[in-house]
């Protein structure tokens, strides 16, 4: 009972971005804008400036404008449900991008077409597994969390912490929010290093905070990569450079380039194909072995 999508040359496509205050989101928006050209879309772009409520209202204004289809990266799992349900009621198919909504209420294939994205929990797990392998299951860890309450922060924490908890040699000394930002990541690291001078691993929920942590380490006279091992998520250009420079150990990719995948999935749907509930994005893992190879494509 999903709304169907008729086959057309040109579609009016809504993309309701949640915010534009970090490189990742900017890259994602750019990817959709580029795709609009290549895929023959009239893109209706809105920005919710970090407010889930405004994002719902943005989706409403798209519905009012009569878009054919909506790509929605829900700011949070739950508050975006009404938007998804209303779009469905108004006959507009919705594709969720990069984050999903609460499974208990809205289901892929019933209320929305599908979810395109990575698995944040898995990203945390991969980071933890790399770390465990690298250190042999020993380490004193400082964790820099993302914005308090946001789902990537919650999931990347859960994935990592659960994995690490299986190894008694590993201990998370402290876990504090760095708001996904470089400056705050640096400040928090500076403070935590003072209290826990024995820490030898830093796990950051994104690359920006990891770069901040590197700066804090250098300011404290420690050698990042040697005295303290840094593990992170995202795969930005700065992070790949830091890996090449030996300052960072690993960053798990969380690709923002959803545009092409969105175009492809939408075409499949218009063709009447049944879409799987979760179109998974394969996240790569960047280490010293491959960083140099991928740095030119990074954002």
């Amino acid at each position: 009972d999903l709304p169907t999508l008729e086959k057309k040359d040109r579609y009016k496509v809504g993309f309701a971005q949640t915010e534009s205050n970090n490189p990742w989101r900017i890259a994602e928006t750019k990817s959709f804008k580029d795709t609009a050209k290549s895929c023959n879309w009239d893109l209706v772009y809105t920005d919710a400036a970090g407010s889930a409520a405004k994002q719902v209202s943005d989706v409403d204004s798209m519905i009012a404008q009569g878009v054919d289809v909506i790509f929605l990266p829900p700011r949070e799992e739950r508050p975006l449900l009404p938007a998804v349900l209303r779009a469905k009621a108004q006959g507009v198919p919705v594709f969720l991008v990069d984050r999903s909504v609460d499974e208990k209420v809205a289901k892929a294939g019933r209320d929305y077409v599908t979810f395109l994205g990575s698995n944040f929990i898995e990203q945390g797990q991969i980071a933890a597994q790399w770390l465990i392998e690298k250190t042999g299951g020993k380490g004193l860890i400082l964790e820099l969390e993302g914005t308090t309450g946001s789902s990537p922060a919650n999931d990347r924490r859960k994935g990592f912490d659960d994995e690490v908890a299986k190894h008694p040699g590993m201990k998370i000394l402290a876990s504090q929010s760095g708001d996904f930002a470089r400056d705050k990541g640096r400040k928090v690291t500076e403070t935590l290093l003072q209290t826990y001078p024995n820490a030898n691993v830093i796990y950051a929920h994104n690359d920006e905070m990891a770069i901040g942590a590197i700066q804090a380490l250098e300011a404290a006279g420690k050698v990042p990569g040697k005295d303290v091992l840094i593990v992170s998520v995202d795969g930005t250009r700065d992070a790949l450079q830091a890996i090449i420079d030996g300052k960072m150990g690993v960053t798990v990719e969380s690709s923002p380039f959803f545009g092409p995948l969105a175009c492809k999935t939408m075409k499949r749907y218009a063709n009447g194909e049944k879409i799987e509930p979760w179109v998974r994005v394969k996240d790569r893992v960047f280490t010293i072995d491959n960083a140099a190879k991928y740095i030119d494509d990074a954002y």
Binding site: N21, I26, T195
Partner: protein
């Protein structure tokens, strides 16, 4: 005929040191600061290390600098919500200049221009605030809300929201350098605080500022150029925000129009208030603002270092603001 009353006057401490001493006794904020130090010495690991001092100094410098400007603005009877946005603006403009082709050909001049132009733009933006407030008589909270909303937007438009990363040791010096081991930005903050405090105390500008903040109509009638004073004040606040923006950019070796100075207005206002500024205007405790910034910094450090989570830290900050202001009022009333 009032001789007895004139004798009373002698009781007011005349010497500087005596006055300073009585100020310490009556300053709730100072007590709070010492109490915090004591608590930290007792419970926070590795607190008594010089590195701890440096970490705190580097972290407090930008808030302190902005809080000084905020104190001036509040003393004039206003408020400035745009400081964070102006930090972002200045922090964005500087790298645009020293990363330009022109600067590549003459790096020294490029760097100089980068710093001067960036700070000047922030100053101009402050002047714009002051102009709206003094000439159009728009309420400060609304007048500065305009740049609060769009100032950061302009910075983001300039860079298309993208991070500008750089590797420019001479510029980074203002964020990461040390002079005799002391972080440069702390030195900048202290020099600014002392000189502005001195200016407020000794200069006509200072007295006029307090007069305008205390009763603008009366000041105007006494020949005080109130509009000019206000415009200067908002401009100075903008300039200081600009300096803070550069420092923050320099530390991070990157300018981030999205994040630089985020929520700075709240920190600066809180610091100014804890430092004893009156929202009714007419009082400009500059060193108090620095102390206020230090207290808020130390609270944050204490909570962070002892593993208290962000959410709880917010509640703690709220309580501290109320307690600090309340104590000051009680002391002031006696």
């Amino acid at each position: 005929m009032n001789t007895s009353i004139f004798e009373e006057q002698r009781k007011v401490p005349r010497t500087l040191s005596a006055r300073a001493l009585s100020q310490v006794k009556n300053n709730g904020a100072l007590w709070a600061f010492f109490l915090l130090l004591l608590i930290n010495i007792l419970i926070t690991p590795n607190f008594l290390q010089i590195q701890t001092l440096y970490v705190n100094l580097t972290q407090v410098a930008t808030v302190a600098i902005v809080a000084i400007g905020m104190t001036l603005v509040i003393a004039s009877g206003g408020i400035d919500l745009s400081v964070g946005a102006l930090m972002a603006l200045a922090g964005t403009i500087a790298p645009m200049i020293f990363l330009s082709d022109f600067a590549a050909s003459s790096p020294a001049l490029g760097l100089f221009l980068a710093i001067v132009v960036a700070i000047a733009v922030a100053g101009l933006a402050g002047l714009f605030n002051g102009y709206l407030i003094s000439v159009y008589k728009i309420q400060p909270i609304i007048a500065t809300l305009i740049l609060f909303i769009s100032g950061r937007g302009i910075a983001q438009v300039l860079t298309n929201g993208e991070l500008q990363t750089f590797d420019n040791p001479s510029f980074e010096f203002i964020g990461t350098g040390r002079i005799f081991g002391v972080p440069v930005q702390a030195i900048i903050a202290i020099v600014l605080a002392l000189s502005i405090a001195w200016v407020i105390k000794r200069s006509i500008y200072g007295r006029f500022l307090l007069a305008v903040g205390g009763n603008e109509k009366a000041a105007e009638l006494a020949g005080v150029p109130a509009k000019k004073i206000k415009m200067i004040t908002y401009m100075v606040c903008g300039l200081l925000a600009g300096i803070a923006g550069l420092i923050s950019t320099a530390i991070n070796s990157a300018s981030d129009a999205n994040q630089t100075g985020q929520l700075m207005e709240l920190d600066a206002i809180s610091a100014a208030i804890v430092g004893g500024v009156l929202l009714t205007g007419g009082k400009a405790p500059i060193l108090g603002a620095v102390l206020g910034a230090a207290i808020i910094q130390l609270v944050g450090y204490t909570l962070l270092a002892n593993g208290v989570h962000d959410a709880v830290a917010m509640v703690a900050k709220a309580v501290i603001i109320i307690v600090a202001v309340y104590l000051q009022q009680v002391k002031g009333a006696k």
